[in-house]
């Protein structure tokens, strides 16, 4: 009798208490906070892509000669390629640690939609590893003698193109997470998908450089980004399920 009453009481508590079930928003916030804390604890690693970008940007004047006009002409495209290459190593390990320590299995078991968690991870990844690259663009632009009037267009193009690349890369990263080796594989898989992104971003920068209207390629990038925000997490979730299942 007492036991029944006890269980009834428990039921009432379980049904009535909102804390019993974490909301999707709460899960995303917790995930974001966890990723930020982890990134902060290993903040030395955050500088590696920046260092890589600076080194590559510094190599170009050595290889091509320090002619300012030549550098100004190629700077926009070179910086785009540098950003894509600097993103690659970090993209590869987006889900690897979580797969190894079993976190991904908890993601699959969680009541929150897997795609939403994947999107949160992409956002955290972009904020911690890619955004610093965009922030140092003025410095890199100065190194390569990028015209100052082009710089805002380049930054807007990067702000649209890098989330798009991160979303595409998250799908590939989830696909490659279960593979034995994925170093060059990631580059091989990302290249075909990155080509249109680079074309439109470089198109906007080149148009701005020659004084032409540059809105259209930026609009294309924005449209692709909107599409990718909706579709890429779904594909990423499907890829994560393949990676986790034995």
């Amino acid at each position: 009798m007492a036991g029944a009453a006890q269980s009834m009481g428990n039921d009432r508590i379980a049904l009535g208490a909102p804390v019993a079930r974490a909301s999707a928003m709460g899960a995303c916030t917790a995930l974001l906070r966890r990723d930020f804390v982890l990134a902060w604890r290993r903040r030395g690693e955050l500088f590696l892509p920046l260092l890589y970008a600076v080194i590559v940007a510094a190599l170009f004047p050595f290889a091509l000669g320090p002619d300012p006009e030549l550098l100004a002409r190629i700077a926009g495209g070179v910086l785009l390629v540098i950003v894509v290459l600097a993103m690659l190593p970090a993209l590869e390990s987006m889900f690897r640690a979580d797969l190894e320590d079993g976190t991904l299995e908890q993601w699959l078991l969680a009541p929150q939609p897997l795609a939403l968690l994947a999107l949160t991870r992409v956002i955290a990844h972009w904020l911690t590893t890619v955004l610093p690259l965009v922030v140092v663009m003025p410095l890199l632009g100065a190194l390569l003698n990028l015209p100052v009037k082009v710089l805002p267009v380049l930054i807007v193009a990067l702000l649209l193109a890098t989330p798009l690349l991160a979303l595409l890369g998250s799908v590939l990263s989830a696909l490659a997470a279960g593979a034995r080796r994925s170093g060059i594989l990631m580059a091989l898989m990302l290249l075909p998908l990155a080509v249109p992104v680079v074309i439109f971003a470089a198109g906007a920068v080149a148009a701005a450089q020659s004084g032409m209207p540059y809105i259209a390629p930026l609009m294309w990038l924005a449209a692709a980004l909107v599409l990718a925000i909706v579709l890429a997490p779904l594909a990423c979730a499907a890829a994560l399920r393949i990676a986790v299942e034995a």
Binding site: V171, L172, L175, A176, G178, A179, R180, R181, S182, L185, L188, M189, L191, P192, L193, V195, P196, A235, A238, A239, I242, A243, E245, A246
Partner: protein
């Protein structure tokens, strides 16, 4: 060739026949169609699914593929010989390009195949992902090397054609670039598949990559219409033949060559799938029976 058990004898009468059912049955019993009244009634409700399920089993597909492959390959060789003769000998020289245009009879069918095989791979990959059909996984993965080969042939022949016509081996034109991207997509699928220790997981991951990459297909196909580039525009338009700008004397060898490459692809796919099934199913009962010398392996061991 073995007949499936459900067409043998009258013990298992077929409840619904229809055109789809007839098509399925044609491969097994030619003579029985005439005996069936009302062929178009009752479009098959259970016949084709039966056939597909029967074919989806690896040992059955292994025998089916072994029986069809030599015929398809022979038909491909004959069609290829006719198409090449028609294209290289019978077709008149182009008024502008002279005899140099004749590479079209290799280039264009290969280009069509590079898209067609990718679509085939993506459809098989979708089936593999949704219904977990083992055979579909093997088929999707065995499509990729052939598709990559046709894409490579397209790029090489295009390059050979471009040198005398455009004066350059390569140009960063929209269609050339998107075809190159298609090659990298194929290589990515092959690479991802081989990076997994568990081949079935690798096949599913690579199938998903193939589905993601399918956005490139319309870009390749419409690139010459969307962008005004060095590559010539659409010459053969199947949807609107009036818009085609190719002479009939040049068109028919081209279509015969396209038929030959399709036949070759299917023949090669069947052969590759046989090998893939053997290595995936090695250790299973039917493979062991095959190795032990059952009569079935007389249909020709895959090379």
């Amino acid at each position: 060739m073995l007949s499936p058990p459900w067409v043998k004898g009258a013990a298992q009468p077929l409840p619904h026949n229809g055109w789809a059912g007839v098509l399925g049955e044609c491969q097994w019993k030619w003579g029985r169609i005439a005996e069936r009244p009302g062929i178009s009634e009752n479009m098959s409700r259970s016949y084709v699914p039966h056939f597909m399920h029967w074919l989806g089993s690896p040992p059955n597909f292994y025998r089916f593929a072994g029986a069809w492959r030599p015929w398809l390959m022979a038909a491909a060789l004959i069609a290829g010989a006719i198409g090449l003769y028609g294209g290289l000998v019978l077709a008149p020289p182009d008024y502008q390009q002279g005899d140099a245009y004749r590479i079209i009879f290799i280039h264009v069918p290969s280009a069509w195949m590079s898209l067609f095989i990718y679509a085939t791979m993506a459809v098989a990959g979708l089936i593999a992902l949704v219904w977990r059909v083992k055979l579909a996984e093997v088929i999707a993965m065995e499509c990729a090397p052939t598709g990559a080969a046709f894409t490579f042939i397209t790029l090489v022949t295009g390059s050979l054609w471009g040198k005398p016509m455009w004066g350059t081996w390569w140009t960063w034109d929209a269609r050339l670039t998107s075809e190159l991207v298609l090659l990298f997509l194929y290589l990515g699928v092959i690479g991802l598949y081989n990076a997994f220790e568990d081949r079935r997981r690798g096949a599913r991951a690579a199938s998903l990559l193939a589905l993601v990459g399918i956005v490139n297909l319309p870009i390749v196909h419409y690139s010459v219409q969307w962008w005004n580039t060095l590559h010539q525009g659409t010459t053969v338009d199947f949807l609107d033949p009036a818009r085609s700008s190719i002479a009939p004397s040049m068109l028919w060898p081209l279509l015969v060559m396209a038929l030959a490459t399709h036949l070759y692809f299917f023949a090669s796919l069947l052969g590759r799938t046989r090998t893939g099934l053997l290595s995936l199913e090695s250790g299973k009962q039917w493979v062991r029976a095959l190795v032990d010398g059952q009569p079935e392996q007389a249909t020709g061991a895959p090379t």
